[in-house]
């Protein structure tokens, strides 16, 4: 009886795992070989279980880690190029300084963590870690090609809810720091939140109207490039993303030259290390969302032999391009003032977002229903 139940459960589990496998023709022989080993088969099928793969490998945890290690290097090199210089290249010179961020990470790890007397100690120490909740969780819902951890018809809404939590944690950081610059930065962060949030959400709403669903996998499967159907919404989304990740010209809360990094002015050591990479994670989430909503997600010419990984690669490439664009903004634009950013958010951006809704409705009417 007991044994039957257990074997039944295992069978159900295996069934779930096996029914949702990633098919990679190139790796097929290898998988078959490994399947003959006693535990290997289970391990391999677990690894290639879409939910597991998406959450822990790509676009989830492992990718984020690798991205955080190498993307800042890409950014620094690229910005260096634009600025007539070379960027980090002395560390492992034959690789062009590619492991620069590894050195920085190690340095952060071993740096003293200072908690100053005026800080609210528990919150001050918690918040850098808590911030990872809203920045990592959305990755469960973003499909890379057909690979997604959790498929739900409410994916966009959940991601939006989490994305809107970003500023809350920054406010927490700034409040716990209890410093004057952190205070001003925190207030600015709160203001900036109001500047982009509504326009940003309305632009996404326009896309939901266009696609007729908020299931990201379904949207991804349509393979349409939303940016062609509704460029206005794409623009509003992009500007909103720049504001949300506080990139120049909207890097107003951090404003290095004005507020000396605003909310995180007091953090040192690994605390600052975590905050330093935070904006890259935020950018990754929003760029991923933009890829799915506007750039056709994982659609693209199928790469021979890679099966479903082909979509994943296209997704990653597009996401990286969007991210790079977001980050290169910082060498092109100076910083807006807070009131200017607010007026951009509330007047231009919001009206553009409404125009985007109208465009979506128009496409909806002409096309005779959702895509």
């Amino acid at each position: 009886m007991m044994q039957e139940m257990i074997s039944g459960m295992i069978n159900t589990l295996m069934g779930t795992i096996m029914s949702n496998q990633i098919h990679v023709p190139v790796l097929e022989p290898l998988i078959k070989l490994l399947a003959q080993l006693p535990v290997g088969g289970f391990m391999v099928s677990l690894l290639f279980w879409k939910a597991f793969f998406a959450a822990l490998i790509c676009p989830g945890f492992a990718t984020v880690g690798i991205l955080l290690l190498f993307f800042p290097w890409i950014e620094r090199k690229l910005c260096g190029r634009i600025q007539w210089r070379v960027g980090p290249n002395e560390i492992v010179w034959w690789l062009g300084g590619i492991i620069q961020l590894l050195a920085d990470t190690i340095r952060f790890m071993f740096q003293e963590v200072i908690v100053h007397r005026d800080a609210h100690r528990p919150y001050y120490l918690q918040f850098p870690f808590l911030t990872f909740i809203p920045t990592l969780l959305p990755l469960l819902f973003i499909p890379a090609g057909s690979i997604v951890a959790i498929r739900t018809p409410y994916a966009i809404q959940i991601i939006l809810a989490l994305v809107c939590l970003f500023p809350l944690f920054i406010l927490g950081l700034g409040w716990a720091s209890n410093s004057r610059f952190a205070f001003i930065g925190t207030v600015r962060e709160a203001f900036m939140y109001f500047a982009y949030e509504i326009a940003f959400i309305v632009a996404i709403l326009a896309m939901i109207i266009l696609y007729g669903t908020s299931d990201l996998v379904a949207i991804n499967n349509t393979g349409t490039w939303g940016i062609l159907l509704n460029p206005v919404a794409a623009f509003v989304f992009f500007v909103g993303a720049a504001m949300a990740t506080s990139r120049l010209p909207f890097e107003i809360a951090e404003a290095d030259q004005e507020l000396a990094a605003g909310p995180h002015v007091e953090y040192s050591g690994i605390g600052f290390g975590l905050i330093y990479v935070l904006c890259y994670e935020k950018a990754y989430v929003l760029a991923g969302l933009m890829t799915v909503l506007f750039l056709g997600g994982g659609s693209g010419p199928a790469l021979p032999g890679l099966g479903e990984l082909s979509g994943l690669i296209w997704f990653l490439v597009k996401t990286l391009i969007v991210m790079t664009t977001l980050f290169v903004l910082r060498v092109i634009y100076p910083r807006y003032r807070l009131d200017q950013a607010l007026s951009i958010g509330w007047s231009s951006l919001l009206s553009l977002a409404l125009v985007a809704v109208v465009i979506s409705l128009g496409v909806f009417m002409i096309g005779g229903g959702a895509i």
């Binding site: 620094r76 910005c79 260096g80 634009i82 600025q83 007539w84 210089r85 070379v86 960027g87 980090p88 290249n89 002395e90 560390i91 300084g97 620069q100 590894l102 050195a103 920085d104 990470t105 190690i106 340095r107 790890m109 071993f110 740096q111 003293e112 963590v113 200072i114 004057r180 610059f181 001003i184 120049l248 010209p249 890097e251 107003i252 404003a255 290095d256 030259q257 004005e258 000396a260 990094a261 002015v265 007091e266 953090y267 040192s268 050591g269 600052f272 910082r330 060498v331 092109i332 634009y333 100076p334 910083r335 807006y336 003032r337 807070l338 009131d339 200017q340």
Partner: protein, 774 residues
């Protein structure tokens, strides 16, 4: 201060533990210097991290905040005020942390070795590596970073030990100890209004007019030189006289406030250099002075309410001499000096003299008393916090360690997002030039003064040298005049690029910074080829220039002008025509013509408010009168106007450089130093090398006060030298730099603007703190 115990502590942290190799590797490649610019070597620091040298190659990333950095690069002079900041910043940084000191001042004091405001960084923080140089080159700086990396790695670098050798002396011959070349009159005769017969017809009329309308208020009116009039009055009549000058004659600003201490006659001479921006008054400078008894607490009425431009200079004089200006709001606290320094410019405050023979057991440089008091905080003006709190305002202290502060502290009183008041707290780079100049030969002061502003060194030298030339009545040879003009204009362009880079950085635009600093590298290259030094060439000497410039260098300068034109296009595209830049600067920090004159700003910033005052046109010197160029003025008076005005001016400067290059190709090589000055050393007229001291060592200026104004990169630069006619050192040198005058402009323009605008305004004024603090 237990600096000795702290030494190498941080390296030890890295040597302990199982993971120490990993730790060392990580820290080695991730030395983030905090953005703590302490003195003028900061210019070269910026060059080291700009496109030319790109310090980021080594993994060093300039970080704004001490908490997130682990490396301080101390740039040169640490003054008493800055010493506190340095200690605070060092304490704020997380372990393990490292310190590199660059510049000669950081080691033994360099050229400021006997200054009263100097401390040694090694007394304040543990130093890991010293890089000598004044200023250091960026290569040397980066090599210093490398050395720190090696130290972290564990590769030991023992520092150089000087070998002591005994000089062989011939038997039977006694060695003579060299004596000081200085000649000091025991009771110098100080007279600031020595009359002279000059050919100046409008001046005689003006004097007559002054005499008739100021009857009873003055003691004596003298013409001291062309365009210079001295009015002697008494402290009681000073205010009334000033009022009349201002309202009836249109003398609307003060160029300088000066105090001269004459202890043996038991008096102070308080001077106001007054001028006006009416067309006919522009070149005229009135020296209104009064003699004040040298009592315990000398006091004179302040003229700050009449001429706002006198305000900060009065505070400065109060710091220096202890003369109270009754009615000035800043008399209850030290404005630019640290609290423990009192009345240093009085003659009874003696500085250490040079020693010419190094004796055993006697330290080479003067002992500096423990520089740091227990209290590291520098006091705020009294009652500021309480007053702000009662008005529901928020006080933010910006600097001196702040990415957007420069080397001074700004006290911002803000309400919401609006600035109610900005209070400057300067003096963090006050290297006491005026005092040091009183203890050196005239010729030794040229390198001293050029260090006031190493981003625009030639103008600084030119101003001082012109004052000496004026006093001695020397004519400069034609070729030297053109070389000077060319070098001054190059220096002006360099100063603009400096400010432009800082401005774009303040607006958060690092690309603008990188572009102009890359262009600036060319100017410095031209400087090196022509003079041998990047920033401190000491090229201009009384009577001409130090040596002739070869043809190749002139050709190179010609090529550079066209290259700069080409690169400026790219800079225009990315920065000047950037919509965000225009949105940030247009209509921000507006100073109307009247306001600009009232608060006494000078130079291109004044011209941006619509005053057509350029000394190169008003009182032409060198070759400016022979060249074809125009003064740039605007009437917007906002940040964009100030910036674009300067930008247009630079284009004119490039035009001037082009013309001087053509002229220098035409004029035959040869004499570049005035022959009447060289005397017996005629053969040195092409290159002074080897005869500098012979010719200039015993320079003595005629008795009286000599004042010149020069148009430097950032505006009017005033030198006023008081000579007693006997000593070969000046009795008093007053130098008023444009940035010191522009300080008031920043304060006035910021009122009522938004917080973020402060940096736009600050950047647009091209404020260079070492120049202001001197």
């Amino acid at each position: 201060m237990a600096v000795e115990d702290e030494k190498n502590r941080n390296v030890h942290i890295l040597r302990t533990g199982v993971l120490s190799p990993l730790k060392r590797w990580g820290v080695k490649w991730s030395l983030w210097p905090c953005h703590f610019v302490t003195s003028c070597c900061g210019v070269e620091l910026a060059h080291a991290f700009a496109s030319g040298f790109d310090g980021e190659r080594l993994g060093t990333l300039n970080m704004g905040i001490s908490r997130q950095a682990n490396f301080i690069i101390v740039e040169g002079t640490i003054t008493r005020k800055m010493a506190r900041a340095l200690r605070v910043v060092w304490e704020q940084m997380p372990d393990p942390k490292f310190v590199e000191v660059i510049g000669a001042c950081g080691e033994r004091g360099g050229i400021f070795w006997n200054s009263y405001n100097l401390t040694r960084p090694s007394d304040i923080v543990p130093v890991d590596f010293f890089v000598p140089g004044c200023p250091v080159t960026p290569e040397a700086l980066l090599r210093g970073v490398r050395a720190v990396q090696h130290k972290i790695e564990g590769r030991d670098r023992t520092t150089i030990k000087f070998k002591k050798t005994k000089l062989p002396s011939e038997p039977g011959k006694t060695c003579k100890v060299p004596t000081s070349p200085k000649v000091l009159a025991p009771t110098p005769l100080v007279k600031v209004d020595v009359g002279r017969d000059v050919d100046w017809s409008s001046g005689t009329e003006l004097v007559k007019d002054l005499e008739s309308r100021l009857a009873g208020l003055y003691r004596r009116i003298t013409i001291t030189d062309v365009n210079r009039i001295a009015i002697k009055t008494t402290p009681e009549h000073l205010v009334e006289l000033a009022q009349k000058l201002r309202t009836e004659f249109g003398f609307d600003h003060v160029k300088s406030v000066n105090v001269i201490d004459v202890p043996h006659e038991r008096k102070f001479i308080v001077e106001y250099m007054v001028s006006g921006y009416k067309k006919e008054l522009m070149p005229v400078i009135l020296n209104v002075f009064a003699e004040l008894a040298r009592e315990a607490k000398p006091e004179i009425a302040s003229l700050a309410s009449l001429w706002m431009s006198a305000d900060y200079s009065e505070r400065e004089m109060h710091d220096f001499f202890g003369v109270r200006f009754a009615g000035n709001a800043g008399m209850n606290y030290k404005f630019i000096l640290a609290p423990e320094v009192n009345t240093p410019l009085r003659k009874d405050f003696k500085l250490e003299d040079e020693s010419y023979v190094l004796e055993d057991n006697v330290p080479y440089a003067p002992e500096i008393k423990p520089p740091l008091p227990a209290e590291l905080e520098l006091p705020l003006p009294e009652g500021l916090i309480e007053d702000a709190e009662s008005k529901e305002e928020f006080v933010v202290l910006v600097g001196p360690h702040h990415t957007g502060s420069g080397h001074l502290r700004w006290i911002l009183r803000i309400k919401g997002d609006v600035i109610m008041e900005v209070i400057p707290d300067p003096g963090y780079v006050h290297r006491t030039m005026e005092k040091l100049a009183e203890n050196r030969l005239y010729i030794q002061n040229i390198p001293l003064f050029e260090r006031a502003n190493i981003s625009d060194p030639i103008s600084m030298q030119l101003g001082y040298v012109r004052t000496i030339e004026k006093a001695l009545g020397i004519e400069v040879p034609e070729r030297a005049r053109y070389i000077r003009t060319m070098m001054t204009e190059l220096s002006r362009i360099g100063a603009f690029f400096y400010d432009s880079g800082i401005f774009s950085l303040f607006l958060g635009h690092s690309t603008g910074f990188m572009y102009v600093w890359a262009i600036r590298e060319m100017i410095l290259e031209a400087m090196v080829r022509a003079t041998g030094s990047r920033c401190t060439p000491t090229f201009i000497i009384p009577g001409g220039v130090r040596r002739d410039i070869p043809k190749e260098v002139i050709d190179m300068v010609d090529n550079f002008t066209s290259a700069i034109h080409k690169r400026l296009k790219k800079f225009e595209d990315i920065f000047i025509y950037n919509p965000v830049f225009i949105a940030r600067t247009k209509g921000v920090g507006v100073l109307s013509r009247a306001d600009a004159i009232r608060c006494g700003i000078v130079g291109p910033f004044l011209r941006a408010s619509g005053v057509e005052y350029d000394i190169r046109k008003v009182e032409p010197y060198d070759a400016y009168a022979d060249l074809d160029w125009e003064v740039t003025t605007g009437d917007a008076g906002d940040c964009l106007g100030r910036y674009m005005g300067r930008y247009e001016e630079i284009k004119e400067s490039l035009k001037i450089v082009k013309q001087t290059v053509d002229a220098l190709r035409r004029i035959p090589r040869g004499e570049v130093i005035s022959e009447e000055l060289l005397g017996d050393y005629r053969e040195a007229s092409e290159d002074i090398k080897g005869h500098m001291f012979d010719v200039y060592g015993n320079l003595v200026l005629p008795k009286g006060e000599w004042t010149t104004v020069t148009e430097s990169g950032r505006g009017t630069l005033l030198y006023s030298i008081v000579s007693d006619g006997d000593s070969n050192v000046p009795y008093r040198v007053r130098i008023v730099t444009p940035c010191w005058m522009n300080l008031r402009g920043i304060v006035e323009a910021s009122k009522g603007e938004r917080v973020a605008d402060f940096w736009a305004i600050y950047g647009s004024f091209g404020y260079f703190p070492p120049e202001a603090d001197r």
